[in-house]
Amino acid sequence: MFKGIDFSHAFQPIIDINKGDIVSYEVLLRGKSHEAPWVVFNKVEKQDLPLFDQYNREKAIALASRLGLDRSINLNFLPRDILADEGSCLIKTIEACRRHGFNSKQLTIEITESEFVENYDALSNILNNVRRENIVIAIDDFGAGYAGLNLLASIQPDLIKVDMSLLRHINENGPRQAIVRAMSRVCLDLGIDVLAEGVETEEEFDWLRSIDISLYQGFLFAKPVFESLPTVDDLKFKIPTNSFTSVCCYGT
């Protein structure tokens, strides 16, 4: 049904500095000539958008498989996609992963709260049900728009991606430092990993690293690459190896 719409995908690496390696790639929609996502979305009838989103995700999984993906893959979902039809888009996505030889563990679903969610309970029930499939559940753009503490309190994700607007120039911005430091404490308490998204400068990175954030995505390391999975050697910024001091203290 979407045969007339030409599109493909770009992949942006996610780096874990504790492992010194790329651990995943976020998939981003692109036009065939690398156009931005909205150019593609504009060609889709509004009522067909949920169907297109799913078609888009399954096509991305197929492409990742052709490219030989051996890490994780991050795909985007809107809460309303998940709420429609009891989360069937999640099940279909997990099945598509398996069909292409991936383990469900390799799938991270990123939920963006771009609109107000009325029924947190329903969302949290659906997510809790797919949790047993061993996928990773992430909140995207945390701290921007609606994506905030309510979502965090009700769905208890495995990962939050801190929105880049909070991280911009964080090395010299007191209020942002206070907020991100507190967020990272909350996440430690709740067993949630923190990812810094849209990191552009070494100064931002150094500050974030100083509060023990270990997951990064951003232009500092790599831009999204069209139809290709960049490797560690392709990164613009060499991954500094983390010192192994901060993890555990021993009680007596």
Partner: protein
């Protein structure tokens, strides 16, 4: 078990627990949990408990209700109750750790959690592990 869940809570002990108190508590708890096919791990450090329970959703839910109601020993804070893909502590009806390093290292399967990042990165990075780490770093304590 199809509806596998874990529940993790922290609590403040109403009185200081001696080693002997814990041993007695555990032998009692282990027996009950075995009957319910509930597994998990209990940590105690300076007046704070940290307890991971794994098993069938309904069973864990009801068990937790009981634990909360029993105010003789502890004041409970629930941290999380969620589905899990597999049992993490299936070999244990209820493990116990007092968080002393040398003791931990003597306990089979225990040291993995606490002996530095190289070991930690080798095992499942599930929520239970992350919360254990948080507790071992001093979080979820009463004081």
């Amino acid at each position: 078990m199809s509806n596998l869940f874990h529940l993790i809570y922290a609590s403040q002990a109403v009185h200081e627990f001696s080693r002997q108190d814990i041993v007695e508590l555990l032998s009692d708890v282990k027996q009950k949990n075995q009957q319910l096919d509930v597994h998990g791990m209990l940590l105690y450090d300076k007046g704070s408990f940290f307890h991971i329970l794994e098993g069938d959703k309904e069973i864990i839910h009801d068990l937790f209700d009981q634990i909360v109601k029993d105010e003789k020993y502890q004041k409970v804070t629930k941290i999380i109750f969620e589905a899990i893909p597999k049992m993490f502590f299936s070999d244990w009806s209820m493990g116990y750790s007092s968080l002393s390093r040398s003791e931990l290292e003597q306990m089979d399967g225990m040291n993995d959690f606490f002996v530095g990042q190289t070991c930690l990165s080798g095992i499942d990075q599930g929520r239970a592990t992350k919360l254990l780490r948080a507790f071992s770093c001093g979080r979820w304590r009463s004081t």
